[in-house]
Point group: C2
Chain length 553, copies 2
């Protein structure tokens, strides 16, 4: 998805067979964020959208073995932990990481999601594991991401009973949690109901606190604030990020939804992915909150209970595959495949076959040549439009060179016609056949209507088709007892021209041009359909051109 | 990714912590194919690209519990099995599926990948499980996908020692394997070295066999066959699909690569995904072979041994999020965010502030009005270009209506100017300021150069910006002790016009237009950058227009 290879990220968590949370949610989020996902499983759960039906913990030594298998072989650039199960599991993980990386400073970015209880109320972390997590794992962490009950649980370890009810409580809690030794703390606000007044109060008291407003809370966007009047009363979610003294509030509208299964897993997985890509903690958190938010809002129905969020909302299918060694010209191949019958009717047209046998009536060929002379004027003009639509000197030059080539080709036409007794006056005075007008005017219409890519697609069918005819006839002629007659064929020159090196190098350049275009700016569904439709139409117009010649229309 | 919600698919297989094979590969493939992935784990493996270091089988009753949790809650549309571990595990799976679905005909499409031995030589299926798989699982299967050693192992259960060396052997094996009771059999050819001669020999002897050529083996594509000369000697991979009497050969070039870890898992996972979407077995197999093939060729380095294929090659990042309830206008928001400072400098320009205070010098306002009169001619002409670029009557009508609106607005300008003592002659004779020419001519340039989307982006900054100014001033004016003075403000009419319902409904329509455009044809990186750049430039030109008015340039 990027030019850089995807970084490898690791989740150490439980397995949710229902696919909405745990390592399954993490792997989906890693993939959606263009990372290579690995996963060490702490426990299997029998689980679905209605709850947790059973837990089978991984034997601690096998947990360690999985972790070792990953660490010794794959360069991990970001990590997260989820459900850790119990004290022994937690200890093994922390010690294996310490042993592998030697120094804490060498541990890759690690996000610890201190999962304790599932949304459905199932205990996912044994009581005795909490202290181990705090003492052994938190000091390795870049970020810990407790929600309100988790933050309260963690802080209760300090002896005091802490209740988090307000934004001030969250900010105070973040400071106390930071003392456990992670580099940063994100206190998630999903369980705390707030409004804009709370944010304004904090802003007034602590102007140094940075506010990151999402959605309709942003500035200079009056035109997008549909519900201006209820903005003040709107329920918000505020996540509090603390790095040392620096506090950032991520403010977004609260969404009523039952599709929240796996939200915490996903958030920490995306933060780990973004950190693996080199983003700052603030930016990683921002990307993760937006991703999770949109995931909830675009969730599709799965199961009968609390469904998962949508992990695929930030993905689009790539319709033209990337070029590879065995398929270096994927777009050209798809265009031909998508119009297979029309393309075959064009490049293996009776006109071509009769020409290759030398049996094509002279008047048909001359009709073709005269109409081609008229067509090439449109063709040159269309390249003129392409020059006008170019954005680089290089593309201006390429298109201009084609115009020069067409002018030279026309000169050859004239010489050729003179040999057959047709004067330039006769050529110019030839009435234009409807097939010629249709094709020529269509090129100019596409040139006016669309962007340069669309025009290039329209111009390609002619260039590539004649190249295909040339190579096909050459190949057929080389077979023993071929139906193609080169010796004494009055049209030999035509076959040689289009199968020759000069024309074929123009074809190669044409193919490279459309392939570069598709690789640089891969078309999504609508543009892809348009390209295919234009190619198909031009292929049909080419066939029509030879019908016209054969039938002297 | 599609308009239909993603179908849920299930893998029943082992876990590969290294992420390249097993349920991890399956979940990645499901996600890449736009399916919702669920996963029942038969065994944990400690594994990486160098081999399998350990296996921890799931207790059979917990395997069954996972499967039940998924089946009772989530409507599964396609399934695959991979590593089954042993006889007891295999039996539990088959019986749980039978018990849940009642009748074999009600089992969703099931692909059984009869994984027996890992690429690195690790035994993944106990000897005693083979018969159970054949007897209890195959009869439930839509398709089984053995490779050469697996096919030989399965057929050895019939007593005879079968060796598969040729394409004829593969076809014969597919017939014998079908007798085990699955609806179809895919004998994978990765371990059998073949050439085009083998395919031609089969074609000649069995003309009813369908050939599906991939890559450069396709027809009427002489222009793409770079290595014409070595085509005959090129090593091929041929996968043999049999459904009853119908045999299809999938022919593709053999690729030399060490990034093949998880190939079999991925192939069966994609077939299950495509079947879940309603594709035929032939089409599902075709899509899966291409996907796997491109995955190998685009693999990026992971680990030190046999790396995984690339599961993300058919995905592109979606840069403009889908519209949601809390963010119904994602493109407009991104455009404003991407040019935040310029946008603010435009909509909160000193010209606007002085106008709102009523302190704007009269000559500045008149200079502005006169230049706006000249600018609107360009603006109307640009909409004329948009009409010419339209592809539906509806878009022709919308653009035409805007031209009519501009003409009406100009009439208002004239009346207004007459009140200030400026005649129509003076208006028309006003020399055009460079800022006016720059902005107007840029709109027409974009209209000539790009497609309708680009032009619409260019035209949006003016429409939306004036709307923003109108609403902002209205909001500011409504505050107690506002700096905005409406009473007695000589420019009151201007403020009322742009904050009024009539203009604001045009703004809403403009926003809907660009949002519909982005949702219908989401831009990839290059087009997205172009849109942002055009928006930024027009925003800058708008600011320049007010600089010009304020400085009487």
């Amino acid at each position: 998805m990027d030019s850089k290879p995807p970084p490898a990220v690791l989740t150490i968590a439980g397995s949710d067979c229902g696919g909405g949370a745990g390592i399954q949610a993490d792997l989906k989020a890693f993939t959606a964020f263009g990372c290579y996902g690995t996963s060490v499983i702490t426990a299997l759960t029998a689980q679905n959208t209605q709850g947790v039906q059973g837990v089978h913990p991984t034997p601690p030594e096998f947990l360690e073995q999985q972790l070792t298998s990953v660490l010794v072989d794959i360069e991990i650039r970001g990590m997260k932990t989820g459900m850790l199960y119990d004290a022994e599991h937690t200890r093994r993980i922390a010690r294996t990481l310490r042993a592998h990386y030697g120094d804490v400073s060498k541990v890759p970015p690690l996000v610890v999601d201190p999962v304790a209880v599932s949304t459905s109320g199932h205990v996912l972390l044994h009581e005795d594991a909490v202290s181990v997590m705090i003492e052994e794992l938190f000091p390795l962490a870049t970020l810990i991401t407790p929600n309100k009950p988790e933050a309260e649980l963690l802080l209760s370890r300090k002896g005091a009973s802490v209740k988090i009810e307000t934004l001030e409580d969250m900010i105070a809690a973040s400071e106390k949690l930071l003392a456990f030794g992670s580099k940063a703390v994100l206190v998630k606000g999903g369980h705390v109901s707030l409004t804009m007044a709370d944010v304004h109060r904090i802003s007034a008291a602590h102007p140094e606190v940075k506010i990151v407003p999402e959605s309709f809370l942003d500035e200079n966007m009056e035109i997008l604030q549909v519900n201006q009047e209820d903005l003040a009363s709107r329920q918000l979610v505020v996540d509090v990020l603390r790095e040392g003294e620096k506090v950032t509030l991520f403010v977004s509208p609260r969404i009523e939804s039952s599709s929240t299964h796996g939200t915490g897993c996903t958030l920490s997985a995306v933060i780990a992915s973004a950190l693996a890509k080199g983003e700052s903690v603030v930016e990683a958190t921002r990307q993760a909150t937006i991703y999770t938010h949109v995931g909830i809002e675009t969730a599709f129905p799965v199961g009968r209970g609390h469904g998962p969020l949508n992990h695929m909302h930030n993905l689009l299918p790539r319709l033209v595959p990337p070029p590879t060694a065995s398929n270096p010209h994927p777009l050209t191949r798809i265009l031909i495949q998508s119009s297979r019958e029309t393309w075959k009717a064009y490049v293996e047209h009776d006109f071509v076959k009769q020409l290759a046998r030398g049996t094509l009536p002279r008047e048909c060929f001359l009709h073709f040549v005269k109409q081609d002379y008229l067509y090439l004027k449109y063709y040159a003009r269309a390249y003129g439009l392409l020059v006008a639509k170019s954005s680089t000197y290089s593309s201006i030059q390429t298109a201009t060179q084609t115009i020069v080539n067409v002018i030279n080709e026309v000169a050859t036409h004239k010489t050729f016609c003179a040999q057959w007794g047709i004067s330039e006056e006769e050529l110019t005075a030839t009435p234009e056949s409807p097939s010629t007008t249709a094709y020529g005017a269509y090129l100019l219409d596409i040139g006016l209507q669309g962007d340069s890519a669309k025009l290039i697609m329209a111009l390609a069918a002619c260039l590539l088709g004649y190249g295909e005819v040339g190579l096909w006839l050459k190949k057929e002629a080389s077979k023993p007892d071929s139906w193609v007659k080169l010796d004494g064929n009055v049209y030999l020159r035509w076959i040689e021209d289009y199968s020759g090196e000069h024309y074929q190098s123009a074809v190669k350049l044409g193919i490279e041009t459309i392939e570069t275009l598709a690789a640089a700016d891969p078309p999504n569904a609508l543009r892809f359909q348009e390209w295919c439709a234009i190619w198909e139409k031009c292929t049909r117009l080419e066939k029509g051109f030879w019908d016209m010649a054969l039938n002297l229309l």
